[in-house]
Structures are given as C-alpha cells and as structure tokens.
Symmetry: C2
Subunit: 223 residues, 2 copies
C-alpha cells in the first residue's frame, strides 16, 4: 500500500467556490459581510437604513438570498444601491456557487462593501462558507433572550451581533429579552464579537455599527 500525499486538503465543491469568492474579494479589496438571522429579524430594514445613511461614504452592493420572490432586492434597489437577487427555490441557505454567480453581476470595481443577506434561517446558513470576510448575526428582541443558548453556532462564528428592534423594549409590550443576559451568553461563545443594540426602524444605536463598518473598510483598503 502506498500513501499518496496530495499536499492539500481536498475541498468540497462549496469550499472551492468559497475560496474563489474569497480570493476575488481580497484582490478587489472589498469587505463582504454575510448576514444571518431568523426570518423577520429585520435584515432588509437594517440594510436599507445603513445604505441610505452611509452611501455617500461607502459604496455598497447587496446580494439578496430568498427561497422565493425578489421583494427584498426591490427594497434595496430603491436606495439606488446595486442588488442581485438569488432565489434558492426552497433551499435553506445560500451556496458559494450562487454567490460566485451573483458577484459576476455586481459592478465590483465601484464597490467597497458587499452585504450578502442570507436566507432567513438561524441554523443552516451558519455552516456554509460563502467566501465572505465575516458573518453578521442579527437577533430581534422579539425572538427572546434564550436564542444564543439554543442556537449557539451562528453566535460563535460571527464578527458582529446586531440586536435589533430595541424600540420594542419598554414600549408597553411584553418581550422576554434581557440585553445583558444576551451579551454575556454570546461572549461566552465568542470573546471577540462586537455587539451593537439597534433599532433599524427608529435609527437608535446605528452610529456604532456605522463606525465599525467604516473602520473595517478603511483597514481593508489600507491593507
């Protein structure tokens, strides 16, 4: 028996495309953030406000993932940002091949930042690398503060957690959400994660998030 050492890890088809995407984005010095959350946590609303508020400073493009419809891409295009919709036709996460295809349909030379809005699913997208620079987890306070304990993978793997819909807290509705509990639980899983508590509807707390984006884009361009 001979052992043949091929000298590199054998990559899955998804990993091959993820590597290709990562190389392309690195070469173009584009920051690429993969947003992952449950359905209805507010990813699209966060993107629309973020683009409107910082589009004069950072050129942003968006890849939208949904099982069906292009409702979200339409909302993004209303901001004038370029957006490509991927309809997964029932699949529960985006694949790196789909993202590779979408990247070919974005004006990369004009962009400094690309958001990928993944399919609304707190579980499956966390295990499929797309070649992104980093993952952004979004958790709405309406979902309850037990989610990091119950769905740890995405919180462990993200660069940033956006706690959204903080306008629900103290508004006379019953919400089981202790922000300090969530921060402590998430930091147990992921010491280096940045956490911003925001309301994309009212704009509360968005400045810290924008400052983080500007810093990351600047570091990448300078690197």
């Amino acid at each position: 028996m001979y052992k043949v050492n091929v000298g590199k890890k054998i990559l899955s088809a998804n990993e091959e495309y993820a590597l290709k995407n990562s190389q392309l984005l690195t070469e173009r010095k584009i920051l690429c953030l993969n947003m992952i959350s449950s359905p209805g946590s507010g990813k699209t609303t966060i993107l629309v406000r973020t683009i409107n508020d910082i589009k004069d400073k950072i050129k942003i493009g968006v890849i939208e993932g949904d099982l069906q419809t292009d409702l979200d891409a339409e909302k993004i295009r209303a901001t004038q940002a370029p957006a490509v919709q991927i309809e997964t036709k029932g699949a529960c996460h985006l694949s790196a091949a789909q993202v590779s295809n979408a990247l070919e349909n974005l004006p990369l030379s004009e962009l400094a930042l690309i958001f990928i809005e993944n399919v609304g699913n707190l579980v499956c997208p966390s295990t499929f690398e797309l070649g992104e620079t980093g993952k952004i987890a979004v958790l709405s306070v309406a979902e309850g503060d037990d989610k990091p304990a119950k769905y740890p993978a995405i919180f462990a793997r993200s660069k940033v957690l956006l706690i959204n819909k903080t306008d629900f807290l103290g508004a006379g509705v019953q919400v089981d959400f202790d922000i300090e509990r969530v921060k402590a639980d998430v930091r147990k899983l992921n010491k280096g994660i940045e956490i911003f508590a925001i309301s994309a509807k009212t704009g509360e707390g968005m400045t810290g998030w924008y400052d983080w984006l500007k810093k990351e884009v600047k570091n990448l361009q300078a690197g």
Copy 2:
C-alpha cells in the same frame, strides 16, 4: 429485460419511521400536531398557556426539539404535562426516528394529544414528515407580513396557522403586519387552513384555537 413491480413505493428511512409513528398514533387514537416556525415566534409560550388552560379537558404530552439545551422541556414540565426533550446537536429539523424514540418515552395510554415542537426553522422542518396528524405553523407579527410569500412551503402544508403576538399590534411599536394581507396570502397557498390570531402572553384569541383542538380530539376519538 424484466420489470419487477415490488408493489409498493420504496420508502426512505425517514418515511419508514414516519409511517410507523403514524400507525402507532392512529391505533392509540392520539392527535399529534407538529409545530413549525422561526425561532422566537412563541411556540413554547403557546404550548404552556394551552396546556394550563385545557389540561383538565385534554391530556397532553409534548416532544420538544432543540439544537441544544432542555430549556423548553423544563418550561413544559412546570405545567405537569409529560415532556421529552430531543437535542438534535446542530441538526436543523427533527427526524421521524427521533420522534419514534421520544414516543416510547411518553405515557401514551394516558394521552389524547401530543404536540411536537420542532426546531425553530421556517424552512427545513416543513419537508420532513414525522408521522404527525397535521402541522401547525406559527408566525409572530414581529416577523412581518411578507413571510407567507417568501417561505410558502410551511404555510401550504399546515392545518392551522397561529398568528401570534397580536398584543404588539397597536401598542405603539412599529410592526409591518397586516393580518388581512397574511390571511389572503396564506389562503392562496392553502384554501382549507384554519387561521387564529392570538397572543399567548395575554390570552387574547386563544378560545378559537382551543375549540379547534377539542373538536379534532373528539372527532379522532369518535372515529
């Protein structure tokens, strides 16, 4: 060339277990409802209130599915109802084999109704049959009213839709949720579905849901 007709559809391993579960439940005349929703839509809160309110009339058991932790089974056990926790260890849906195992650990001869609380995920659980009598979709108003259009499969396959957290509507928080739009979109996918708008926190609207459960249990026992 001969064609061999084996006289039956070849079942997947999951379908084999689903069939076994279905036969067991039918024989025992137990109504079994598979609850599917995004994380944080309020499935456990709905179950706790439902059990507390109708446990004198219907004997209820629960199978809890989570990636990790037995937080939800503990909440159910506080009602005195028997509950079995399945930890999927990262898998994004319950399997019929896991449910088969859980059924062996419930006191079936004492039960008329079993709820299966699936993993919080609006996508994957909808395509894995567990042998249940029917599926119950739960949608929180905080998730937005575009969800039936974007995630149609579960709404098309459910016997009941519970629209939860109606106490958020008109409470001074901004929620993009038009109940009539959701009802119309869901009925386009599924003419026969029953829809109840409820707040499991305040108890608003729960009576219609309880009446439906009582009717279904009665029909099954009489059948």
